[in-house]
Amino acid sequence: MDFEPVIGLEVHAQMLTDTKIFCNCSTQFGGEPNTRTCPVCLGMPGVLPVANRRVVEFVLKTALATGCTIQKYNQFARKNYFYPDLPKGYQISQFELPIATAGYLDLELEGAVKKRIGITRIHMEEDAGKLMHEINGIAGDSSFVDLNRTGVPLMEIVSEPDIRSPREAVEYLKTMRSIVQYLEVCDGNMEQGSFRCDANISLRPKGREKFGTKVELKNMNSFRHVEKAIEFEIERQRDMLEDGIEIMQETRLWDEKREETFSMRSKEEAHDYRYFPDPDLVPLVIDEDWIAAVRAGLPELPRQRRQRFIDEYGIPGYDADVLTVTKQVADYFEAAVKLHNQPKAVSNWIMGDIMRSLADSRDIASFAVTPVHLAGMIALIDKGTISGKIAKKVFEQMAETGKMPESIVHEQGLVQVSDSGELEKAVQAVLDANPQMVEDFRSGKDKVFGFLMGQVMKSTKGKGNPQLLNDILRKQLAG
């Protein structure tokens, strides 16, 4: 039988507000354990939460950017469960009345296929702390708890079960991450856990409307793992169904070392969270004026920017795709083009040498080669001051030292030699040293031209203007 996967995703995005969701503690990552805390986020007796308006604004931005309907009347709810990283014994979240519902995300799949994925709801909640079972790598008989992260604002974005393949799931996540990064509401870092994802997966016979039993999948901290985990889970469920084994509703974890999923808890073991409206927080009313103000302040989103890059800079669609994936790269590109208006050359350098140099860090904003460096260097090429080959050398040194291209070129005498007299002398010297080669060329062996050209470049230490040298060599050989 042919089975169709039905996938829904829940994204947890940590929001980039300066302070926590219900107190004034800093949200900065790290810090000595329990130093970024106060009586409110420590859940001490008698303290009360007060909602941070910035958090609401951040969620509103995301909701508006994904076509959601904003709920005017918002309520926070308590999700009750015991765990040492949850100091109040409940997490303040939203349940019956989330801030946003009924949105969507349009994916562009291979072959320019478009697909719309529905967004069920977006709600805000507080993050929990972190348990530490070892100190300095040593596990004792006690565990410790660090509550620095407690109360950092999270936004949970729940998709409709509209996703049909691991590929679509990754595309959805990349598109969503790109949006929250553009909105500057989340840094989108999956490895550090500021952008996390759970997946609900079920299979059904193709053509059937009714969903199969779903399995919740957790613990996937990169796009690659999301793809692999979903792939694995689809295969696992397909094998079971083909063998006539019933799927159990459960939560499974992805083991990235063994590349398989394993059961964490069954439906029967699931918590009863006993949600109820939090009486400590008055209902949050979001009026039209607030929504309008947030909407007016929305930045250009990735898809809009991509189109503008094609129209305004005349770069190919492929380049525009790559450049607009993150806001930082797109900003970098535009900053460089503004300084030196050669969009395609700037794009080539970013997609080539810069992306290679950044490798995993992906942090173009703190890269030593700034848009000023890059634009300056390309300008030197265009003026004929350096060759493209020398430019690679200059680029490497800029990346290493952060020096400006002009000073590198001057300090190291890398200026391209375009004086034909000097170049003619150099060519003549090479020809004089290789009489046999000259003889061979003149008797029709074209191949030796490359060797001679190499010798000439070598003798000028790569600084000779390649086009001029080529011309001179041909002339003198013919001579």
């Binding site: 007796p45 303290v47 014994g89 949600y275």
Partner: protein, 488 residues
């Protein structure tokens, strides 16, 4: 015979202090000697704070000398042990917080400190304010100063008994279902529960967040107005506190009820109401009528559901509010737990008393999947109906007058093993909390056995001024508030 300083009201003592006839230190020492003389029998205090009070009294004297004194400067007050006091142990009447010392003050404590008040100590209470007799207190029962074999009421029993026994000039209590008004009634003092949101709850250890309010317990109505003026007002740390100007309530104390329409709800004069209580309350109503008030019969038809609704909503909120006492961060932790689950179970089993456990279980049940709609949600809907009853009644009257408690103080131990009959002692006070309304209890007579009886006056939202006005008018033409227990 000159009256002892400890027996004075806030306004009487304040006049002497500001005139520098007596010093704050003298006033405090008078109160301390009184506590030392009688608290061995009353047990109103859990933690006396005499040393701290002495330094506050000295500072108050300096302040008065600078001409910077206010109506509470140098006035010795007792604080219910549910309000967080920086550097002073705050137990909430529970073993689980036996050694908890908050690093912060409740907002009301900050306001009283700013006003120059002096804190004689933290008063006893039912554990986590869950009780109507003060008998669930981990640190032992409080005895009613009018009859030491009887309960003072609860949960602010320690504060009410301390005021009645002159172990302080006035006190702060909290009221979730009657916890200020019922003990005030049983101890023959004045207790005011403000409108929900009038006083900041920051630093009030939560029992039921949508019902809890802090309020004064005092020797007369004027004192209640003085204390309320100090503690009320918006607080940015409590989003449920109302952004509304808090007036000087003493300006509302007029001696004339002409034209005031008093609603008498028939649902509050029912079978089970002690005949002596009914008689005293009816006489009080007659007196107010004779003074010019108009008496209007009203109906609050959903009153009969109030106790049931309360015992679903309050425990539901409480089971969640009390989840933080888990032995992880502060408070009681059992010794040598084998694992995390054991630590939770043993710490909470050993740290909480039986009434608290009962309510945690009630609340957990009411919120559970499959029961939520039938219990918590239904209770919330009926709560709305109870609120509407009052709004409807306030279309035809300005204030509602009722008994505070169905009977005078009962004997210690009498109802402890019968939770349902205990729960019914708050039958007349609970609806006010569910509706968020202000209510006051003040003495309106004594039983044949010499036990105080309380009159309750309920106002519309933010109508504290009217409530105080009517109470003041009644009090000024009756002798009840001047009677003192013999403490024999």
């Amino acid at each position: 015979m000159a009256r002892e300083l400890y027996s004075l009201t806030i306004h009487e003592l304040s006049a002497l202090l500001l005139a520098r006839t007596v010093s704050a230190v003298e006033a405090l020492e008078s109160v301390i000697s009184r506590i030392e003389a009688v608290d061995g029998r009353v047990h109103a205090y859990i933690s006396p704070t005499f040393d701290f009070a002495r330094s506050q009294a000295q500072a108050a004297d300096q302040r008065i000398a600078r001409g910077d004194g206010g109506p509470l400067t140098g006035v010795p007050l007792a604080i219910k042990d549910i309000l967080c006091t920086e550097g002073i142990r705050t137990t909430c009447g529970s073993r689980i917080l036996e050694n908890f010392v908050p690093p912060y003050d409740a907002t009301v404590i900050g306001k009283l400190k700013a006003g120059g008040a002096v804190f004689t100590g933290k008063t006893s209470m039912d554990e986590f304010a869950m009780g109507s007799s003060n008998e669930t207190a981990y640190f032992g029962a409080v005895h009613n100063p009018w009859d030491l074999d009887r309960v003072p009421g609860g949960s602010s029993g320690g504060s009410a008994a301390a005021v009645a026994a002159d172990e302080c000039i006035a006190a702060l209590g909290t009221d979730t279902g009657g916890s200020i008004r019922q003990p005030a009634s049983l101890c023959g003092v004045v207790g005011l529960k403000p409108t929900y949101g009038r006083v900041s709850r920051f630093g009030l250890i939560a029992f039921a967040s949508s019902l809890d309010q802090i309020g004064p317990i005092t020797k007369d109505v004027e004192d209640a107005a003085i204390l309320l003026s100090c503690i009320s007002g918006h607080d940015s740390k409590d989003s449920t506190s109302i952004k509304r100007h808090a007036p000087d309530y003493t300006r509302a104390l007029k001696k004339d009820v002409n034209g005031l329409r008093l609603g008498i709800p028939k649902e509050y004069f029912i079978e089970g109401l002690d005949p002596q209580v009914e008689k005293a309350v009816r006489e009080a109503i007659d007196l107010l009528k004779a003074q010019g008030a108009e008496i209007v019969p009203v109906s609050l038809p959903h009153t009969e559901y109030a106790v049931a609704v309360y015992y679903l909503i309050a425990p539901a909120e409480a089971c969640s509010n009390l989840a933080r006492y888990d032995g992880v961060k502060y408070g009681y932790r059992c010794s040598q737990p084998g694992n995390l689950r054991e630590m939770y179970e043993q710490s909470r089993s050993e740290g909480f008393g039986p009434e608290v456990k009962r309510r945690i279980m009630l609340g957990t049940y009411a919120l559970s999947a499959g029961y939520y709609d039938a219990y918590y949600k239904k209770a919330s809907q009926v709560r709305t109906l109870i609120r509407r009853d009052f709004m409807e009644a306030f279309k035809t009257c300005d204030l509602i007058v009722t008994p505070t408690a169905p009977a005078p103080a009962f004997k210690l131990g009498e109802k402890l093993s019968d939770p349902l009959s205990m729960y019914l002692s708050d039958i007349f006070t609970i609806p006010t909390n569910l509706a968020g309304l202000p209510g006051i209890s003040l003495p309106c007579g004594f039983s044949e056995g010499g036990l105080p009886i309380g009159l309750q006056i309920i106002g519309n939202l933010f109508a504290e001024e009217q409530v105080l006005h009517c109470a003041y008018c009644y009090e000024q033409s009756t002798p009840w508030h001047r009677r003192k227990p013999s403490l024999a």
